[in-house]
Symmetry: C2
DNA sequence: ACAAGTCTGTTGTTTTTCCAACGGAAAAGG
DNA sequence: CCTTTTCCGTTGGAAAAACAACAGACTTGT
């Protein structure tokens, strides 16, 4: 478990913690580990979650498949990110989405009840952890609203432009790489792949952007 | 301020609190009140928030207007609901949305720093408040994911069906009323009003549902 | 090195949505 | 009670997206 300390130090949840803090928290929160193969489902719709999780390595997709088989990627989890926090409310019901490992992944599990039930004597960092968790959920919340704003664009073109320009802003560069292939990007934005591919090329021909595989560059007009 | 105690008792944030708890919290959290007229903006894109808020009475819409004037209702706040929690992270930047009162509304403001900084001696309820706040944000998180799943439907028809069936489930009845008029529902689902209106009538003619104004009834097929 | 499979762009057709405009019904306001 | 405004369904034409199918480039695995 010790090997995860450097990673955890860089997570938002443990931001500001020292090695000792983390080690004692790992113990206090009853942390466990589990590995998943590429393509394996970590959780399936209808299951139940009673832990807070952090992705240690690999990549996860939170996705949903409807009656007719349309796949939609609701979110992408990268190493260091927390997930499962939407289901920590008691009686919050069954999972509504699938969680799938798109690469070989390792996940850390934390006992949610031990996080919320303070143990002020044992863990000096516990109060800060609560604060960090709060900030993290808040930010995730904001991220969801952000994605909602992509999705609310009326056309594929606008969806692409708003997502790509946000991504450029986020990575602080007009050249950046996105974590999706074409099909995944289409699923993420809930549009048809071929139509999106065509729209991308149209944007390129109009001189608004350039791309090679998943590397994009936006140009001033 | 005392007059808001009965309302607050019914909110998720103060769930489980007694009158005394609430009164002492109101003081401890430095609560203030502000009223807004119908149509008035509570906050505008670009502004900054440093408080957690609860809507006491009225109705608010969190909405976004893009370059071309398309309006999108990202969320609707009803009395007792908390909002603003996505922007309480230090340095979380400017507000990205507008908040508008669609009816005459009253909003309670709470000092966010006083919520997160424990005062165990003064307020016995403080720990529970933190827990409640987590649960609330978690649920909001889940709600956002839910809305994302409506938006990810490819057609207006599927958007309507997924939203309406969820709403029926939520209200535990096949007959229910929605808090939108047609234009607002269209904005909420990010579709064209007239097209949506037509699709609704088609669904009615096919016997899937019935409606009168904002009252809907879903029929088994 | 080869075969199988995946990823991407392209094209043509079908379907759906968007848009603008209109009229009647209902609601709001004086 | 009457006027004004809002709300809602409807229509027809323009635009866009969805869909299906395919071929070439690239990957993967053996």
């Amino acid at each position: 478990m010790k090997k995860y300390v450097p990673l955890l130090k860089r997570t938002k949840l443990f931001s500001g913690a020292g090695d000792d803090d983390i080690l004692s928290m790992l113990n206090c929160l009853n942390a466990t580990v589990r590995a998943y193969n590429k393509g394996e489902y970590a959780f399936r719709q209808g299951g139940y979650i009673r832990d807070l999780m952090i992705l240690a390595e690999g990549r996860l997709h939170i996705q949903k498949e409807d009656y007719w088989g349309n796949l939609n990627i609701l979110n992408e989890i990268r190493p260091g990110e927390m997930f499962g926090e939407a289901y920590i409310v008691p009686n919050s019901g069954a999972l509504m989405n699938d969680v799938i490992a798109t690469e070989a992944s390792t996940v850390l599990f934390f006992d949610i009840d031990r996080i919320l039930t303070a143990c002020p004597s044992a863990c000096p960092f516990h109060t800060q952890l609560l604060k960090n968790m709060f900030y993290t959920i808040s930010e995730k919340n904001k991220g969801l609203v952000q994605k909602l704003s992509y999705m609310s664009a009326r056309s594929t073109r606008e969806k692409l432009l708003s997502y790509l320009s946000d991504e450029a802003k986020r990575q602080n560069s007009s050249s950046f790489s996105i974590p999706f292939n074409r099909q995944q990007l289409a699923d993420f934005l809930s549009v048809d792949r071929s139509a999106m591919s065509g729209e991308l090329c149209k944007l390129r021909d109009e001189g608004l952007l350039g791309f090679h595989k998943s590397e994009f560059t936006l140009y001033e007009v």
